[in-house]
Structure formats: structure tokens, C-alpha cells
Symmetry: C2
Subunit: 314 residues, 2 copies
């Protein structure tokens, strides 16, 4: 049987280069940020294991105030000790200019900043309105560009807010308009608490793409309510080729033990490969990294492919 | 904001009656069959709770030899005590003519039989080849029709076999040809060990629908590797309107505690409703039933919507 057949074969043939999907591994940052007491040693081991999987991009650390997120207090040490593998793009997340300066000093040239599409969520996170944060981000983008780095703006709660409920896609699109005008190089939509569904994805992506057809878009899903792979399927069909995922599904247990946060990288890769997409990732090496992540977390991670193994032996 | 917008709005408008999705709740049978020592009382309570959710169809029990599946030894008692709610279609699964006679005697008029698309899987289950089972099924269909009941043939391992690996969609289609020729009223495709992906769904459904455009098809997914809702999304777009699901994700822990078997009914309904589909199901009542299922199982069930709640308060 051919690797790709049926509708997907013609889709992929029509897509050309779009049969390559670029995964950004966020386990070391978004994942470990939610785990307590992980020693720097273990963080370096996980980063190095991930760098060896063939993944194109890794969100390595965040440079935040140690009082705000003590789990990332050792970001400088972790990053300085990690192997920087040629061909892998590493990025860092920063909350403000102090963080940006640390990230630049550490040598990062791809930097992410965050704003929430929901005003309530933004205020709860940083005690500022979305508009105030957007003013800060405009200044941050300038700072980064002057230093030769790129700026990605992550818009969290893009598919819903745990405080406000639905978020109007028009509001998300207006934020995109603003940050694009301010010079953002890329935009990511974060499904912060797993409120995304295929319909929400189509609403947001469709509206933004109509206005910014050439803007690189990345999607970041949580699997809190089981929809993560369905959301990715929906976005694939809209031509989106960049996705965040976290090894083992590491990160975010907002509700209870076993509750899922980030979609597991190996579940994404496993589905994509079976559908004939390429990711550059060796699933076997990724599963090794997922086992390491599970050992580091000290609990069973919510990844079906890690638990049950791939649908066929590798 | 309208309930349905964007691409889905036009899709649903184009579909007409297809915006109604018929869910068959299989928790009482496929779910409880995998739980040990559930008293008949609890089974009746769960059935009655599910009957009150607005779900259209319930797979209530199976009539199998108590030595083969002791969990279903009390099927007659459970069924006789359960409330038969007008408007709900109840079905039973049977392995052979003895089971069919019990099901008919108990008053069922919708009866399911199973065969595996994989010869190895079929032999391991019933010690017969797929072809031998198909001969038995031809006789069973006759028996059921003579008694005024309908016969649905469930083809398990339709999207992959844990022993043989990929299953050729041509083989699945040939089995459909055979059972249709033998008089089957409906066909279901079972993703027995969660090997389905959107591409496999398109391959199997596409091939069968080309040959039998008017044959009612039902899909039964397990969420073992996270793909269940993506598979359903794929099938929705091919016009499939009937799906099995199990309350709470009850059933099938083939690998480890927390491993998922059947896709959780509330995850399916939650996604469908947000996409503008109707199911007739009251999600609040369904979540009550899921909590009852969890209490009966005595363990946390693998349902994100049960754990985290719906994306918006009901």
C-alpha cells in the first residue's frame, strides 16, 4: 500500500512543500514550567534529547522573574549547558524588556512575547489590559529588531477564555492587525485552556488569513477536552503548517492528575506521519525523549502514543 | 455571535438533515464489559441515566456465554429491569445463534454481530477464520430477519490490527460486499485498538461508500492514540452521521491505568455541539451519567470534558 492514498494523496500533491509540517517542541519551556523542582541537569538532558530527534524548532526556556515562575529561575544555566545542535532553531519566551535583554545576552535570535486576547485573562496574568500589553509589545518588538532578533507574538486565549467564555474572532484579528503594524514577524494563537474546537479554529484562522495572507501563523493547542488533533486536522486543511507540541504532553495539569495540558508531540507526529506529512522528526527518538520527560516529571504523562506505542512498530 | 459561522455554516447549510448526528451510546455494553464486578443494580442505574440524556440509541447488553465474558452474565436481568424509554433505540450484541435467540427472546429488534477484518484477530477471538465467521453471520442475518429484527455487522480492526498491522481497505470493502449480499441492514467499522487516523478513515469510508452509497455506516473509534475526534471530524466531512461513543470513555484499559479505550460520549457531543451539529443529547444530563459511570468504575475515567468541564458553563 502506498504511504499516501485517497483524498490525502491529492491534497498533499496539491500542496507541494506544504506536506512538510514544522513542529515547535515546547516541553522544555511550557512543559517544565508546570513541573516543580526539576533540577537543571534534568532540563539539559531533556533539551539535548529533543535536539537529537530531528525536530526543527525548540522553545528552550523563558526569561521571567524567578519570583513569578521559580521553575525557570535557572534558565541561563540550562541554556548555557545545553547542546546547540546545528539546524535546530531555538527560541525563548520573555515577558518584558528585562527578559528580552537576558534572552538577547544569552544569544537567542528568535524571541516570543505573549498577550492575551481576553482582557480579563491578561489582567489576571500581568495586571494590565490587553491594550496596555500591546503598547509594551510594540516597544519590545523595536528592542528585539534593533538587536537583530525576530519577534513572535503569541496571542493566548485565542479560542476561548476561562473567565470570559468565547472570545470574538474579530478581537483576535484586531490584535493581529495591531502587532503586524507594530512589526511582529510571526503570530501564534494559543489555546490556553483547551477551549479550541475545529469550528473555533476555522473562525480565527480564516478571519486572520483573509487579512494577512502571508503572515506566518503557528497554532498552539491544549488537549484538555480531547480536541487537539481534530483542531490540528482542521488547521492543516486551511494550510497551516506550524504547530507547537510538548513531548509526552508535559505541562499543565490545571484540573486534576492525569488532566492533559499541551498536546503531546508524539501524538501529533504519529498522526501526521500516518497521513503522509513529513516533520523531520524520528518518532523513535521522540518516544525516547518522552520516556525521559516522564521520568523527570515523576508521573504518567497523558500521551496515548507514549503509553500504547505507535499504531505499528517503528 | 451566531452558533455556527464560517466554513461550517455553509457546510451545515448544504447538509440539511445531516446536521443531526446520531450517537449510539455503548458504555453499558462495550464499556462495562471491561469492568470487573459491576452489580446488576449499578448497570440498570447507568442504563436508566443514559436513557434520560436524549441519546437516540443505546447498545444495552450483549448476550454472550458467561464463561467467555462473565461481566455480561446478568444481561437478561439487567435488560428486564432497565427502563425502556420511548424514542430510544436499544440494541444488543450477539456472538452466535444462541445469543441471537436470547436477544430476540428478550425483545430486541436491533441486533449486532461482529467479525474482524483481520484473519489473525478473528482467529484469536473466536478461533475461526474471517471467512468462516462470515458464513456464520449469513445464517445469523437470516435468523434475525425471519424474526423481524435488523442485523448490523460490526467489522472490527477496520483501521488496523494489533497483530497484522495495517488492514487493506480493499479487504474491509470485500467484507462489506459479502455482508450486504447476505442481507446486512447496516455496517459499522470498529477501530478496535485505536489504530485509526484521518487518512485510514478516508481510505476505508471512501472505498466502501463508492460501492454502497446508500448503505448506513456507523463508525466506532477508540481514543488510544488521541486521534478519535480527528477521525470523527474526517468522517463528518465525508458525510458520516452515525458514531458510537462510551459515556466517560468507559471501557478498554488495554495498556495501563488511564489508558483510553472508547472515545468518551461527552467529548464527542461537546465538540459536535460547538460545531453546530445537533445530537438530541443534553450535555448536562450526559455529564451526570458520566459521573455515575465513574463512580461505578471506581476509577478516574479518561474523559477530558468530564474532568475539566465543558468549554463554557452549561
Amino acid at each position: 500500500m502506498s504511504v499516501v492514498s485517497g483524498d490525502f494523496a491529492s491534497e498533499i500533491a496539491g500542496r507541494g512543500a506544504m506536506s512538510f509540517i514544522s513542529i515547535r517542541e515546547v516541553g522544555p519551556r511550557d512543559g517544565l514550567q508546570n513541573e516543580d523542582s526539576v533540577p537543571a541537569d534534568a532540563k539539559v538532558r531533556l533539551l539535548d534529547a529533543l535536539s537529537a530527534t530531528g525536530v526543527q524548532r525548540i522553545e528552550a526556556v523563558s526569561f521571567v522573574h524567578p519570583k513569578a515562575i521559580p521553575q525557570m529561575a535557572d534558565a541561563d544555566e540550562v541554556w548555557s549547558r545545553a547542546t546547540k545542535r546545528p539546524g535546530v532553531r531555538y527560541s525563548a519566551l520573555v515577558p518584558n524588556s528585562r527578559g528580552a535583554e537576558r534572552a538577547l545576552a544569552a544569544g537567542f535570535t528568535e524571541i516570543e512575547v505573549v498577550v492575551s486576547a481576553s482582557d480579563t485573562h491578561n489582567r489576571r496574568n500581568v495586571n494590565r489590559s490587553t491594550d496596555e500589553s500591546l503598547d509594551d509589545i510594540a516597544a519590545l518588538i523595536d528592542l528585539l529588531h534593533r538587536s537583530g532578533a525576530t519577534a513572535e507574538v503569541i496571542i493566548s486565549t485565542s479560542f476561548g477564555c476561562p473567565f470570559e467564555g468565547d472570545v470574538d474572532p474579530a478581537r483576535v484579528a484586531a490584535i493581529v492587525d495591531r502587532v503586524v503594524a507594530d512589526g511582529a514577524d510571526r503570530v501564534a494563537f494559543g489555546d490556553t485552556t483547551g477551549m479550541g474546537t475545529p469550528r473555533r479554529v476555522e473562525d480565527v484562522v480564516g478571519r486572520v488569513r483573509d487579512r494577512h495572507p502571508d503572515l506566518p501563523l503557528l497554532l498552539h493547542f491544549h488537549n484538555t477536552r480531547g480536541t487537539a488533533l481534530a483542531n490540528i486536522l482542521s488547521a492543516l486543511r486551511m494550510g497551516i503548517t506550524e504547530y507547537d507540541a510538548s513531548v509526552g504532553g508535559l505541562g499543565g495539569c490545571p484540573y486534576a492528575p492525569g488532566a492533559t495540558g499541551n498536546v503531546a508531540t508524539e501524538e501529533v507526529v504519529h498522526m501526521l506521519h500516518d497521513m503522509g506529512y513529513e516533520t523531520g522528526i524520528d518518532l523513535k527518538a521522540l518516544l525516547d525523549a518522552a520516556r525521559l520527560a516522564q521520568e523527570i516529571a515523576g508521573r504518567e504523562l497523558p500521551s496515548g502514543v507514549l503509553r500504547a506505542g505507535p499504531r505499528r512498530p517503528l
